[in-house]
Amino acid sequence: MIIVITSVIKSLVLILLLLTGFAYLTYYERKLLSRFQVRIGPNRAGPRGLLQPVADAVKAIFKEEVVPDHVDKVVYLLAPALSLIPALVAFAVVPLAPDLTIGNFTLRFHIADVNIALLYILAITSVGTYGIILGGWSSNNNYSLLGALRTASQMISYELPMGIILVAIILTTNIGRETGTLSLVEIVNQDRPWWLWLWLWLAFPMFFITMLAESNRSPFDLPETENELIAGFQIEYGGIKFALYFMAEYISMITGSAIMATLFFGGWHGPFATPGTWYGPIVGFGWLVLKIIVLLFLYIWVRASMPRIRYDQLLQFCWKILTPLSIAYLILTAIIVALAAP
């Protein structure tokens, strides 16, 4: 019983955290982009524009709900939610902080410690694609259809190298142990030798590229490409329905950063994040947030400095460069793991 109650409470807190995180991520991106572009950025609502996300939210909620005549209504209304839910749900397996033990009750800072966490993430992020494809399809508009078609091929292509790199990471969890693991909680808790860190960081750029493509971020933002497809799959959406798509994109950025922080940079680990102490969870969570913020900076930095890649070049890059590289990485990792085995 207590597990159910704590899980529900933890989920609600997490959703709240993510939605606030999304709101301030838009602020963070706007401020950062404006810095890159020698502008000032939002500075009217509240001190230093800090209330801008609130103003945006109020505006999005109170906008007139326009449902065009020519859309497939049920799917049209369902699609934004279908896009947002997976982005939120994927966070469930990410460990946020070390456990806190009070008496004989242990509070764990993750919602689920499933032993197939990585598979779960792959599965859930693929479901998110449906939201975009269905949204583009049901809008019954040439532009959104093109956007949806692009999404489909982009997501399918980029999941391949992403999965392969994940397999390589799973292999490394075998080193020095009886069995490996797929659980993010266990991966974070494992100790890695220094050379393994270096080897993992070698794969980070590749993984980061696949995450960019996975969350439709520039330079891979082809499904929406405001310059030729105007807004792509979301062209017929307005008000809060548009905001839901927006949320899905930004929350999947946060989720992606959290997964990358967990896999490549030790998650909540950091100085003073000692498990078993009362301050451990707080400092640990702080470290995770810091790592996420730094990774999000990368997303925005890329957006400010890279032109957009073309649709066919994107697929070529994936199939001709990224996939072979990731396979080579997997093979080399397998050899290293075999050599390191006792």
Binding site: V38, S218, R308, Y311
Partner: protein, 582 residues
Amino acid sequence: MIDPIATLREAFPDAVLDSTVYRDTPIVTIKADALLEVGRFLRDEPGLSYNLLSDLTVVDRLKLNHGQDFGSRFHGIYQLRSIERNGDLLQLKVPLPGGDDPVAPSVTGIWPTATWHEREAYDLFGVRYEGHPDLRRILLPPDWQGHPLRKDMPLGGERVPFSVTWDDEEFAFLGKQIMKAEQRPEPVPGRMDPKHMIVNMGPQHPATHGVLRLIVELDGERVVGIEPDIGYLHSGFEKQGENVRYKDFVYYTDRMDYVSAMQNNLAYCLAVEKLLGIEAPPRAQGIRVIMAELQRIASHLVWLATHALDVGGTGLSLLMYAFREREEILDLFEMVCGARLTTSYMRIGGVDQDLPPAFAPRLRELLAILPERFDEYERMLSRSPIWRHRLIGIGKLSKEDAIAYGVTGPMLRGSGVKYDLRKAQPYCGYDQYDFEIPCYPEGDSYARYLVRMGEMRQSVRIIQQALDNLPEGDHIIDDPKIAPPKRQLLDQSMEALIHHFKLFTEGIRPPVGEAYHGIEASKGEMGIYLVSDGGPHPYRCRVRTPSFSNLQVIELMSKGHLFSDIVTIIGTIDIVLGDVDR
């Protein structure tokens, strides 16, 4: 130096009706039946090779009492240039048979650029071109009645001001929704295959740089055909020009290519000066060169910013970097004339005011930083593999096609034709300055990008030289019939006061004649053709804008490319819709 008039007279003794040289431009009048033969001869004869049809227009002689009309109300006017012979200009005049319903042979087979120009002449004058592949209205909507540039067309809307009262019927529906929003599907152009996806791009679309509408036929993501639909911003500048005094049209020219107002001012003023047979004083010419080149940099910066935006997405910082520098240039414009965008700084016979003392130091500061900034842009773009992939090989335009379609400016130089009116037909003393013409033979978007980047650097060089060698003296011609007398004279001299009064009430009256003058504006050849009947208004005012001819090749350039490349191609053509539609 070959004499085109003598050669023509020799080759076609029967066809040439009349010939003259006015203000150094040979003008040959030929019979309409012989137009195609003469045209082909002029294009193909090695010594002549008039391969560039700069402009094609029509003059309605209904109210013109000067000159010979050869029994025709409408005269077709063809401005031909020879690229091999330094842009040598020849004007063909063709009296069109058919009276009030004129007919002319179509020259699209000789100079394909005439396709749109003839459609325009059909639209605005009602000249039927026989043999034209697709004679439809181009600027005005298809259901428009009449042809607006005909002299018997009423100007319309001539109401006496302040005569409207609340009882008028036009106020009956004020504030009420009187029109039901009715959706009428636009017909798909007949040549497009309905099995393909037809995408309507524009007139409201972020990448079309204004109100350009493209009907795009797609097979998957591959472009099969494009049908541009223009005219959404048509404002009848030519008609306006024919109904205001010479000096008052300067302010209208700003609004054509609104990102290079100075260049438009310059083209118009030079054309009027050619008609008057005067030349601006040396200091005015120096100032004009500085302004025109600053405007070229500003215009190319807008192009760079929007091109990067189109190719790169809204996040790309280059947009703001380029606009930061353009802002500096606009500040300089504000300093000299008080306006930033619609400058109206040039005057017939010179410029409006002399440079303020703070101008030169500020300009020198800007010139010092500009080359570094251009390096910065190039570091951001030229070295980015994504940028190169998006541009190299996209929108190929061969040398022959470029000339045949009347493409000018950086587009032509990006196709390997080293042709620049500043060098070929120097005006404003451009021959005194040492500069190069950037030219790349590849003919793709990347070559055009390199050309424009190179041109900005050359413009910095020209401005530097012009600023260092700026002579002292008057900023406007000292002729009370053309330019207002100096302010202090008005208090002392009765004569000056009379001249001032006459000039501002009656305007300038150039002698009877006609003149075409083209300059190398930021986007290509910007030409003005004026016909004077001796009165204070131009009888015919024709504006040849570079974007109109340049946009024509969009279908040629985009066929077979992907949908995303259309955006790159629109960017690389560098259109301004005010310039296309006028």
